[in-house]
Symmetry: C2
Subunit: 325 residues, 2 copies
């Protein structure tokens, strides 16, 4: 329990799969935390109700009123219109179009409320409380269904002209590559996301390749990145090869970020980062081999130290600076 | 002639081909200017002597002493160690290794002296005096022998961790592409520089393709981007096709910058930008087709309005802010 006398904040990480809601003190201590499934298929109304329920629950459990809080921040897995407080078109939240989520939350609790993109919140969390503390040129990428990016330049969160900076997953790394749902071709995330790895495995299985994953695919009708990681750790050759392929492409995109940004650190989070060293080490080797030496020598590439708490901690930090970062 | 009473500065743009030296007032008025060829093959000592000669000449011509200046800035076509004031390894200045150019200039004139990379100076020039005025998220690229990049984020010049940010020419856009001299593969500048266009033309000519450029190649033993541009304007099919190919790749790299940075403007300078609309328009169309719509809608992609003066104007601006940008 924290001794910090400053009013705490509540920060919500609203993702396509799960919602994390936390009550946080200014020193980064998390007083209480609630995880629930988003159940995104039920649509925005149900999801928002469920999300507000987690805020109510934390307040009740800690015997607090909303007015005891410094503010609330929602970090959403979506492009965000910061000025209007609108969740615009979240790819993994079906049925959401221009939902004025900031005002919905503000109207209910009557306190300062902020809305921010989840990966931007994550990089801010890592900068304030995590591995990136004091690193003024910092990039955070999240490897999940796709690849998201959060960027800090000169010690400040970088939003770009309309708040849309950081779509690093949609840089072309193969000009002759396949088309992406975004409309671009050969995007980085086509080669290195969970989806990409699962697709690669299924492709090899259907051409009759032997693998312990064949049985899982038959039984579950799907192979997840968790299955692939487990199989690779158990020595499955196909799983190892697919992860190695992803690692090479992960490295290629990291080289681009290193050459463009000359960052002091790149932090890698998201579900797929849990694969660990068998993904990370070969990717880091690509950076050492291919980026400018003076730049690869200046960057640390590390896994997230905050894990699932990065976005709520960054969301909390965003409240304390009054949304001015 | 300016009425500005603030002491002027002298700024030098030290390139692989030419040296531009200018005497500049704080409002951006250029009082006097000197262009000479670098003659880089003669090595650092001769080039530095020639460069200092242009500074002496401007002072003499304007009847000024060095102490009448606010300071001097050299913008060099090289990676620069800002702290030590060293020109490290300029690819187009043969024989230069870790030359302490800042101190050489400072020791001679005894006034505040700064050293900065030329493309970083150019983006600063465009931000203070050119098309990018007031655009706080601004990228300047120079298309020449390679592709250089200068970046302003949140209204500040972005150097990165060791001053090396902006190597946009060395982002991989074709993971299976050819090897670059930098050690990476499929770099942007391999597909869109003057060198790339010239190589493409020669390749087609040697396979016997008909073109007005065949005669030029036979006569001069070389085809330059100026020749290619002229031929394209005269309707030469090969020249038009090579420029169209470069334009496509130019567009692909611009899409990456737009998706990553969400800039308000990208300014395109450098010798190759003089090709004009037949290069720029199809590249801009690629951005419209492939970048996120909200981001492509937020960016203006324009030719440099300062042309060859961008780097000296930015160098001058760098002196007025005391090297703190």
């Amino acid at each position: 329990m924290s001794e910090n006398m400053q009013s705490p904040v509540i920060a919500v990480d609203l993702g396509g799969t799960k919602i994390v809601t936390a009550l946080i003190f200014e020193n980064g201590d998390i007083l209480d935390r609630e995880h629930i499934l988003t159940q995104a298929s039920e649509g925005p109304e149900a999801v928002i109700k469920r999300m507000l329920g987690t805020i109510d629950l934390l307040l009740e459990r800690q015997n607090m009123k909303a007015s005891d809080l410094k503010g609330i921040c929602v970090a959403a897995a979506s492009p965000v219109d910061m000025k209007k407080g609108i969740v615009s078109t979240p790819p993994h939240l079906p049925g959401w179009y221009a939902v004025p989520l900031r005002d919905i939350v503000r109207d209910r609790y009557g306190i300062d409320t902020y809305l921010i993109n989840d990966v931007k919140a994550a990089v801010l969390g890592e900068y304030r409380f995590g591995a990136g503390k004091g690193i003024d040129n910092l990039i955070c990428i999240t490897l999940g269904t796709g690849i998201g990016g959060g960027i800090i330049t000169n010690g400040k969160l970088y939003f770009g002209e309309v708040g849309g900076a950081g779509e690093v997953g949609h840089m072309t790394i193969d000009a002759n590559g396949p088309r992406c749902v975004c409309g671009n071709t050969g995007c980085w995330e086509l080669f290195v996301s969970g989806t990409a790895m699962e697709r690669e495995v299924v492709r090899h299985l259907s051409s009759g390749e032997a693998s312990s994953l064949a049985e899982i695919n038959r039984k579950n009708g799907i192979v997840t990145s968790v299955d692939i990681t487990r199989a690779a750790r158990n020595g499955d050759v196909l799983a190892i090869r697919v992860i190695a392929g992803s690692a090479r492409y992960l490295g290629i995109g990291l080289v681009n970020l290193v050459n463009i940004f000359n960052p002091g650190m790149i932090i890698i989070g998201g579900g797929l980062s849990k694969i660990g060293d068998i993904l990370m080490e070969p990717a880091i080797q690509v950076v050492k081999d291919k980026a400018f030496r003076v730049l690869s020598g200046a960057v640390q590439i590390v896994p997230s130290s905050l894990g699932d708490d990065a976005a709520v901690l960054g969301g909390a930090a965003f409240v304390w600076v009054g949304g001015r970062v």
